[in-house]
């Protein structure tokens, strides 16, 4: 009986103290939670995105924070798996009780995680989800709190098709990795081509991890297309390019989705990378406001140049904080309204969404390797060079 009294007193005191001290949220930092792919398949790109988030938070903190409070990111590793991402967002929202969340890396993980953020009605700006179907849903399954930053997968190769159509080319061959993003890009390219009166003479998907493209390229060669569009990731891009040379597949234009724009692409392929088109969401040479500063600050902070994943993470975070600032509160519905109305140009490009949170303003650009340099060749208003056409046969170089 006696031993219980001090314990009871302690409990009462604790409650009293807890009641007197205001809840931490009101005074402490704004904690923004996210689960990112820090290990696993998407590790490299997930880490770049993380760096974008970090730089953005640092810059806002230097200018006094948001709503008078400092910003702090709480980041967990989802190991590049959707299932883990789902659990982590539950943890962030229900246990860590973060004030806000930002999206994870990649479409599959975003698609899985969205169910959690919608359940708890948390606004989630998703900087690196490019799949239309995440945002565009039938009316009874609408999602209200997610917002897209980058251009959707379907328009990745739009520039390639546009340039080809303008030159009067007629036939397109498409190959893609059989995964969510790559398929969407391929489908988009095919539709785009058909709309412009071009004929899709070949379209086939290949399983992830394929290293030998002889059969696919043999079929493509037999179809003799003017344009080859490959919806790939980096390692496939290298293999496909090398094997195109080996099998002497010579389209007039050859473009890639992911990987064609990375510096490593040229380093690995050297001469063989010339004339190849790449699609990118962002280049550091683009004339967007704050772009040069972003490039300089990022390079200083992380010791290397930014790629578009970092820029997208940075921009997504900027957009979200700006919306919160304009709404004057962290309340999800008010911030949501602010995001729906917001039109903004960041170092990454334009932001404007439709009523589904789907990105409608951001533009993809197409690059081409010319003399070892990456030149922006499309769209005209953002280009800093002219495309070299046609691609000469492999053996002629």
């Amino acid at each position: 009986m006696n031993s219980k009294a001090p314990a009871a007193l302690a409990v009462v005191l604790a409650l009293a103290v807890g009641g007197v001290v205001p809840p931490a949220g009101a005074q402490g930092p704004i904690r923004v939670g996210a689960s990112l792919s820090l290990t696993g398949t998407y590790a490299k790109l997930g880490n770049y995105m993380h760096e974008g988030y970090k730089l953005c938070a640092k810059e806002w903190n230097a200018k006094g924070g948001l709503l008078g409070r400092k910003l702090e990111f709480v980041v967990y590793d989802d190991q590049s798996t959707p299932a883990t991402g789902v659990r982590l967002y539950e943890k962030l929202i229900t246990e860590d009780k973060v004030d806000a969340v930002m999206g994870p890396y990649s479409s599959p993980i975003t698609e899985a995680v969205v169910n959690v953020t919608e359940k708890y009605k948390k606004v989630a700006v998703s900087p690196l989800a490019a799949t239309t179907s995440i945002f565009k849903r039938p009316p009874d399954k609408k999602r209200n709190y997610i917002f897209m930053i980058i251009s959707p997968a379907e328009v990745y190769l739009e520039g390639l098709v546009d340039m080809a159509a303008k030159r009067g080319l007629k036939t397109v061959a498409i190959l893609n990795e059989d995964t969510l993003f790559a398929k969407a890009a391929a489908t988009g390219a095919a539709e785009s081509a058909k709309k412009r009166g071009m004929q899709v003479v070949f379209q086939e998907g290949y399983p992830k991890g394929t290293q030998d493209f002889s059969a696919i390229l043999t079929k493509i060669k037999a179809a003799n297309p003017d344009v080859v569009a490959a919806s790939t990731y980096f390692d496939d891009a290298v293999a496909i390019t090398r094997q195109m040379k080996e099998l002497n597949v010579n389209p007039k234009m050859y473009g890639l989705t992911v990987g064609g724009d990375l510096p490593e692409f040229y380093n690995l392929l050297k001469q063989n990378a010339e004339y190849i088109y790449g699609a990118t969401q962002w280049e550091k040479t683009l004339p967007y406001p704050g772009n040069k500063e972003f490039d300089a600050n990022y390079t200083k902070e992380f010791g290397r140049e930014p790629v578009y994943h970092s820029a997208a993470g940075y921009a997504g975070c900027q957009v979200y904080f700006e919306a919160v600032k304009r709404a004057g509160t962290l309340d999800a519905d008010k911030v949501r309204d602010a995001l729906l109305k917001l039109e903004m140009r960041t170092a990454f490009g334009d932001y404007k969404v439709d009523e589904d949170g789907f990105q409608i303003a951001h533009k993809m650009v197409m690059t081409q390797w010319q003399d070892g340099k990456k030149v922006i060749v499309w769209p005209d208003e953002l280009a800093n060079g002219k495309a070299r056409f046609p691609m000469p046969p492999w053996t002629g170089r």
Partner: protein, 306 residues
């Protein structure tokens, strides 16, 4: 002693049943995962622990159940509990189809065949994209069923464990273990080894099938690579092995202990946790092939049927 254990067990069950009321969303999901692993490890134990036939592609049943359940919910609008049962049924059918030819194979060949099976299913799912969404994955209508699924998964874990207990304490189980010890002798004694193996294989497929369908509903989105990974098979094997394969509660112990260990390790050492997992596997295989319960059984003369 037995009564004390029973009381503790009942209290534990009551606590687990009450947890969702005062636990966090994350806690509910985590415990639900533990239930899932108990069901998976326990199911694997039914075929491989008892008969000695190593199913190295057991996650194939999980994936098959996941896709069956997901397709029924997304395309045919079935309610998810029924779809989950259908997932279990589909896995049973798959087990018969695969078991008939493959259970005639000897040890290592059976293991390789099961490994190949997993990959065939993954490739087939990718191919029949009209039905399964292929590489795009399959998205289910949004539904927050985390708490009901917690309960159902819990019931599944109980069911698998109960089934395990029933089998291990029965003549059927005894015959399975005879097959494990010496199949030729078992045949000589008149045991119809093939049908016994097939029966165990069927029963071992139901748990993963239902668990797969439930997981698909819970995640709301599945894609081929995430429901057919080899790592899941290996994890359920290591859990069963750690706890004690061939026992009833070994897989339960293994699932709980290893899941918690994994969570702690992964939170602290994200970049090296595969290495640590690999080291764990090596350790378990080399140092404690009989598992914790196996060791205890030997040391303390515990009954065979725990």
């Amino acid at each position: 002693m037995k009564r004390a254990l029973a009381v503790v067990a009942l209290l534990l069950l009551a606590a687990l049943a009450a947890y969702p009321v005062f636990g966090t969303g994350y806690g509910v999901r985590s415990i639900q995962q533990i239930f899932m692993w108990v069901a998976l490890a326990g199911s694997w134990n039914l075929i491989s622990g008892l008969t000695g036939y190593v199913s190295f592609g057991h996650v194939a049943f999980f994936g098959a159940g996941a896709y069956t359940g997901a397709i029924l919910v997304a395309s045919a609008g079935w309610p998810w509990p029924v779809a989950a049962l259908a997932g279990g049924a589909a896995s049973m059918v798959l087990a018969v189809v695969i078991g008939y030819p493959c259970l005639r194979l000897k040890g290592p060949y059976f293991a390789i065949a099961m490994l190949g099976l997993n990959e065939v299913l993954r490739a087939l799912v990718s191919y029949f994209e009209g039905l399964t969404g292929g590489g795009n994955g399959l998205s289910l209508p949004t539904l927050d069923a985390a708490v009901p699924i917690y309960y159902v998964m819990g019931v599944l874990a109980l069911a698998v464990t109960a089934m395990s207990w029933l089998i291990v304490t029965s003549r059927f189980g005894l015959r399975l273990m005879t097959i494990r010890e010496d199949e030729v002798a078992a045949e000589a004694m008149g045991i119809d080894t093939f049908h016994h193996k097939l029966g165990a294989f069927l029963l071992s497929a139901v748990g993963p099938g239902v668990a797969g369908a439930l997981t698909a509903r819970d995640q709301g989105y599945i894609e081929p690579i995430s429901v057919f990974p080899l790592a899941v098979t290996v994890t359920m094997i290591v859990m069963a092995l750690f706890g004690g394969k061939g026992t009833v509660f070994g897989p339960v112990l293994g699932a709980v202990v290893l899941f918690i260990a994994q969570e702690i390790v992964w939170a602290r050492y994200p970049y090296v946790h595969p290495l640590l997992f690999g080291a764990l596997i090596v350790m378990v295989v080399l140092l404690m092939p009989r598992g914790v319960l196996g060791l205890l059984q030997q040391r303390y003369r515990l009954p065979r049927t725990i």
